[in-house]
């Protein structure tokens, strides 16, 4: 079997992966870098991020404010040493993006403009209208094109990490075009494969967000950390789950219930200011609509329980009203909101409110890394949504994730480059043998297997449904336990899967089957970690344990793969200068 070899291999070509690739190119242009992705890099889900990226740049802001907002936003679950590094490094990364051509919105004097965002004390979110992720990804992708040391493996699907000599030294991956499994070897490997929101039925996440990298690391013995913390974004379009950015509220949009009442005031999120009066101070930072996402999504559920939401064709909704901003401001600041609402909901927000409901958006948890982006396996790094450093803790603040993928993508690139310079490839024959085993496994388990009775779409629908039932916004012992059991049954049934396509070239049915395997791995860690965390913190809310319990659970959960259900261990959260306190918004 022919092997491809690089100094560093990056799996995933989204924001984090491309930032890592460029970092290596800048660090040492002599190193050969492979970027292997199941889609063309510019299709990666970074493209869908809308609102912006946070970094301290304006004179009224301070590094300490951004740190404190992030710590508080995460309900003290983030590691504070990592957060300090992240916040300090953020401005440099954002300026770097500026120098790579990102079309940031500007103030009249030509300096970079910032907007406010949920849970942030000071306006510090850089933005490119409301297509920030799109511009960030394309700026990175186009910049990456100039590096000759970079080889892309577009539309290759990694199925296994190759571990030899106690180190990760590449992957076995299917070249989709030919359907062949090939070893792609490297002295260091970086996973930048994104989250796994597709374990849920209703999500902003693209189809490709199936947690493949999390699954790869999990199988290699790396823990998946803090997986119980799943972020619901409060404003998704019903049916499609398409995201309506928080920027709509940052620019002044308000949320109202069926009576036209700004219901957030009933949930300890502050006092509404008159949004029609330009001198009222609306929108006010950390107040009402600018509270954090977990609290706003939870408020929706409570409002639903009180019978004050609006019944719609695809479940209950509330109204996001931006009409008072006027057409000019909407077109300047949130044109994509208008485009999406018109195209997918048949509503022009200039004239009508938008129906929205909470939607699964982001996984705070992921592959356990330290603040140097390193995992517990030597030579294996991770960055972006697939990783958990953790800076986001129990709830990520909007506009921290784009910055995170830059800061830790760059870190992963530099660290992997150094590791690759210090280590030789070892045991090449054995690595190639592992890839040959993988080729056989995929052939036997999926392509030549007969008599399977389970369909990919059927199992996925059942997985989605049990995850929503047991691991949604509010959770409780009995339903979580049922979900844990259901997921184990689904894993059992997954062995009995039957593909509708057993050919080789561009077999997307095979990809879907492998992705379903990843989803099942991610789902079992989410459900089990949630079951075992007997407290409420950030996005993890339990009706049977409604209080935060710092004594027992100021700890990261670490889910490890076993033959049965995952084993969950704990590690204390790193606290430096910001001891746990009450999490206050709007007062």
């Amino acid at each position: 079997m022919e092997a491809y070899t690089h100094d560093v291999l990056i799996v995933g070509g989204g924001g984090a992966g491309l930032r890592a690739a460029i970092a290596i190119g800048e660090e040492n242009p002599g190193l050969s870098v492979g970027v292997l992705s199941k889609v063309y890099p510019m299709r990666s889900h970074t493209v869908s991020a809308e609102g912006g990226a946070a970094a301290v740049i304006k004179p009224n802001d301070k590094i300490e404010y951004h740190i404190k907002d992030t710590v508080t936003g995460g309900d003290w679950m983030g590691d504070q040493d990592a957060i300090e590094y992240f916040v300090n490094e953020a401005p440099r990364e954002m300026l770097q993006l500026e120098h790579w051509g990102c079309p940031w919105n500007r103030d009249p004097d030509g300096s970079v403009a910032v907007r406010t965002f949920g849970g942030m004390t000071v306006d510090r979110t850089w933005f490119a209208a409301d297509k920030t992720g799109f511009h960030l990804l394309h700026s990175l992708f186009q910049t990456a094109l100039k590096y000759n040391n970079l080889v892309r493996y577009d539309e290759w699907f990694a199925t296994r990490l190759l571990i030899e000599d106690g180190r990760c030294q590449g992957v076995a991956a299917i070249e989709l075009l030919s359907g062949q499994v090939r070893p792609v070897l490297a002295r260091a490997v970086i996973l930048c494969t994104g989250g796994g929101g597709r374990i849920f039925p209703f999500t902003t996440n693209a189809a490709i967000k199936t947690g493949d990298g999390m699954s790869l690391a999990y199988h290699a013995g790396v823990a998946l950390k803090d997986m119980e913390f799943v972020q619901y974004h409060p404003t998704g379009l019903p049916f499609t789950g398409i995201l309506i950015t928080e920027a709509a509220r940052a620019e002044g949009g308000v949320l109202v219930n069926k009576d036209g009442y700004r219901y957030l005031q009933d949930y300890d999120l502050g006092t509404p200011l008159d949004y029609r009066d330009p001198n009222s101070g609306h929108p006010k930072n950390k107040n009402m609509e600018l509270g954090p996402r977990d609290r706003l999504s939870q408020a929706f559920m409570k409002e639903f329980d009180r019978g004050r939401t609006i019944p719609g064709r695809h479940g209950h909704v509330v109204h996001l009203d931006v009409r008072h901003l006027g057409e000019e401001k909407i077109m300047k600041k949130i044109p994509f909101v208008r485009e999406l609402a018109k195209n997918y909901a048949g509503v022009d927000p200039v004239h009508e409110p938008i129906s929205v409901r909470p939607v699964v958006h982001y996984m705070m948890g992921g592959i356990d890394t330290n603040r140097f982006a390193a995992t517990s396996v030597p030579g294996l790094y991770a960055a972006g949504e697939c990783a958990c450093v953790s800076i986001n803790g129990a709830n990520r603040l909007g506009s921290n994730s784009l910055t995170e993928l830059l800061v830790f993508g760059a870190m992963a690139g530099r660290q992997a480059a150094q590791f690759a310079q210090d280590h030789e490839l070892r045991g090449k024959e054995s690595l190639i043998r592992q890839a040959e085993d993988e080729q056989r496994r995929i052939t036997q388990q999926y392509l030549t297997k007969d008599g399977g009775t389970e369909s990919i779409a059927g199992l996925k629908a059942e997985l989605n449904s049990t995850m929503e039932a047991g691991a949604g916004i509010y959770r409780t012992e009995a339903t979580m336990r049922t979900t844990c059991e259901e997921v184990q049954k689904l894993k059992e049934r997954y062995r009995n899967i039957q593909l509708g396509d057993r050919t080789h070239s561009f077999n997307t049915d095979l990809v879907a089957a492998l992705e379903l395997g990843s989803l099942l791995d991610v789902a079992e860690t989410v459900a089990q970690s949630a079951l075992q965390r007997q407290e409420s913190r950030g996005a993890h809310q339990r009706t049977d344990f409604p209080k935060r319990d710092d004594e027992k659970f100021l700890q990261h959960s670490l889910a490890y793969q076993t033959d049965g259900e995952p084993r969950v261990d704990y590690r204390p959260v790193v606290i430096t200068n910001w001891p746990p306190a009450e999490r206050v918004y709007g007062r």
Binding site: V39, Y40, M42, R43, H45, V47, S48, I57, R92, L95, Q96, E98, H99, W100, G101, P103, W104, N105, R106, D107, P108, D109, G110, S111, V112, K131, F134, H135, H138, S139, Q142, T143, L145, K146, D154, L177, A206, A207, I208, F239, T240, I242, L243, H314, F336, E339, L340, N343, S455, I456, A457, L499, G500, D501, T503, H504, S505, F506, N507, T508
Partner: protein, 252 residues
């Protein structure tokens, strides 16, 4: 959920290099729903009827650019094209025109990526500004000069619509030229001349009659035709003047 009483016919282009000597159209009867886009119908076919149907998709919100295909002969994004636009007539789904077909609705895009690299579609700064010196200034007006050309999602609909690309596969094509032009117009950039060299030496640019098919099909409202027009003007006023006239004078 789909309204179970109504159905809609999709005729899907099928070609599998391992099995088929030539392509064919296959009919599928799918449930019809007001909310469904062509992509929902394809996902229904793949999940419930025929796992072999092959196409690309991801964001299903018109920004990742994966799901470009011909819908009744016009290049469209499957995720943004509603069934109700055509119902009750059958809908013909084919791969993007002008590209080599890999399988069914999946086409090869490598040609575009090579061209994007050739035109140096990235920022080449005027002077060396290390990031520690802070952000480069750019006024809102300077941003507006190039912003719309930066909105290209690389979906390739414009190539599928382009009559020049259909005849002349070497043509850089609408998206690559638009993205080059985007950097040429960026106040921070200093490599306009180098990009114009590449573009002006492409005979395809001069064959483009600017009939604006590319702009008509762009799902993001980018106007590649105007980018090409502007590039031709710039080319004609500087570099091209120097090349064109001597060439004619050379005669035979």
């Amino acid at each position: 959920m789909a309204d179970s009483t109504k159905t809609c016919t999709l005729e899907v282009f099928r070609y599998h290099p391992e099995q088929d000597s030539e392509p064919s159209l296959q009919k599928y009867e799918v449930p019809f729903s007001e909310d469904w886009v062509v992509l929902d119908a394809l996902n229904h076919i793949k999940g419930e009827m025929d796992g072999g149907v092959t196409y690309r998709w991801s964001c299903r919100m018109g920004v990742c650019g994966s799901c470009g295909m011909m819908v009744n002969g016009t290049p469209r994004l499957a995720c943004s094209t509603f069934l109700k636009e055509f119902y009750p007539s059958p809908i013909r789904i084919e791969p993007l025109g002008g590209f080599p077909v890999i399988r069914d609705l999946v086409v090869n895009l490598d040609d575009f990526l090579e061209k994007l690299t050739r035109v140096q579609a990235w920022l080449i700064p005027k002077e060396n500004h290390p990031e520690v010196n802070g952000a480069l200034k750019q006024t809102p007006a300077e941003l507006a000069d190039y912003k719309q050309f930066s909105m290209c999602i690389n979906c390739m609909l414009c190539y599928a619509a382009c009559p020049v690309y259909a005849q002349e596969p070497h043509f850089l094509g609408p998206a690559a030229i638009t993205l080059a032009h985007r950097y040429n117009l960026d106040s921070r950039d200093g490599a306009r001349a180098a990009r114009l060299d590449v573009i002006s030496s492409d005979p395809g640019v001069w064959e483009c009659a600017v009939i604006e098919e590319c702009s008509a099909v762009c799902p993001k409202g980018v106007d590649p035709a105007s980018a090409i027009k502007q590039v031709k003007l710039e080319g004609a006023t500087d570099w091209w003047r120097g090349m064109l006239i001597p060439k004619e004078k050379r005669g035979g």
